[in-house]
């Protein structure tokens, strides 16, 4: 598992109160049961961790953790 994937899963696991081993790129975001503030927190933590700015509109289209990883890879230097 690459660093981006492991860090992303760690952040989402903490916010969703699930074990990191339960989350994979195929995990649907809605199954994490994050409320709107948690989701905002996830985006801000990901931005801070990877020193990037995530496009809000593109993030809104993400359905799975894999989609989020693709978006992070897209904007990472």
């Amino acid at each position: 598992m690459g660093e981006i994937q492991s860090s992303t899963i760690q952040i989402l696991a903490e916010l969703s109160k699930k074990r990191p081993t339960e989350l994979t790129p195929l995990t649907r975001i809605e199954s994490l049961d994050l409320d709107s503030l948690d989701t905002l927190e996830a985006v801000m933590k990901l931005e801070e961790t990877f020193d990037i700015e995530i496009d809000a509109a593109r993030f809104s289209m993400c359905d799975t953790i894999g989609d989020i990883l693709a978006e992070i890879n897209r904007v990472s230097p």
């Binding site: 409320d35 989701t39 905002l40 509109a57 993030f59």
Partner: protein, 260 residues
């Protein structure tokens, strides 16, 4: 039909009847002149003051606020003109100038019934705005019916788990975020609570926060009150400040509800 709705209908029908039976204004007069003439006629009505406490009033408006809405709506329909409101007299116009001149995002909070006034005030400053709503279509329709102009400069974001991320995007685009933190109490059928979500968002997004309220004076003038910017403050303190800002006109209780 509930008793509250019946008395609301009586209230409105009386105002309508007064507008038709009394010589309120001359032919060809402007909206404001017609409003003033009808206002003078109905504002001291004993019937309306008796009916008002029994009317459906989920936003807990004062008598003059409630009467203002009725008079504006009656004249709108009569003239088939979609005017949102008459001129707002602001207590601190310098704060509005600050919002106009600042290119960055900010958040302006008001009660649900006042969104259109606040939205229009921000649009009139030349700013673009964003808001969240449960039904984008219904909200957009309401704006147009209510007479809000420049609705194309309003971004309406659906309420769901990603709405705050989209609001963050709107902040980065330099928009004014206009939202309503008051929450409906389904038992009492009134907006009695204040949720901390938008206050929390403003702190996390690090944007200045403003509070706005309106009051209709006995002479029929719409007065606007604005406070801010509030920054770098504890969220609980912000919610408390918002609640105090609205007292004694209306009392709220803070409820830490998640938006979604």
């Amino acid at each position: 039909m509930s008793r509250g709705r019946i008395f609301s209908a009586i209230f409105r029908k009386f105002v309508l009847w007064q507008s038709r039976t009394a010589p309120t204004a001359h032919e060809g007069c402007g909206f404001e002149e017609e409003f003033n003439a009808l206002w003078v006629r109905v504002r001291r009505s004993r019937l309306l003051k008796t009916v008002f406490p029994l009317a459906k009033n989920p936003f807990r408006l004062s008598y003059f606020d409630f009467l203002y809405c009725s008079v504006i709506n009656v004249i709108r329909e009569k003239r088939n003109e979609r005017i949102l409101h008459l001129q707002i007299e602001w207590d601190r116009p310098e704060v509005l100038k600050q919002i106009r001149d600042d290119a960055g995002a900010c958040m302006v909070l008001s009660r649900h019934h006042a969104f259109a006034h606040t939205g229009q005030a921000m649009l009139d400053l030349g700013r673009e705005i964003a808001t969240v709503a449960k039904s984008r279509e219904r909200t957009n329709g309401r704006y147009k019916m209510g007479g809000l102009s420049n609705t194309k400069r309003i971004e309406i974001i659906d309420v769901d788990s990603k709405c705050f991320v989209r609001l963050l995007g709107a902040c980065r685009a330099g928009k004014v975020i206009c939202c309503n933190p008051d929450v409906f109490n389904s038992k009492a059928r009134k907006f009695e609570f204040v949720s901390g979500d938008f206050f929390e968002f403003s702190q996390r997004a690090r944007i200045p926060l403003y509070f706005v309220k309106y009051r209709v004076a006995p002479e029929g003038k719409l007065k606007g009150y604005i406070r801010g910017p509030h920054m770098d403050t504890d969220v609980t303190e912000l919610v408390t400040n918002f609640i105090h800002f609205y007292e004694p006109d209306v009392k709220f209780a803070a409820v830490p509800l998640p938006l979604t």
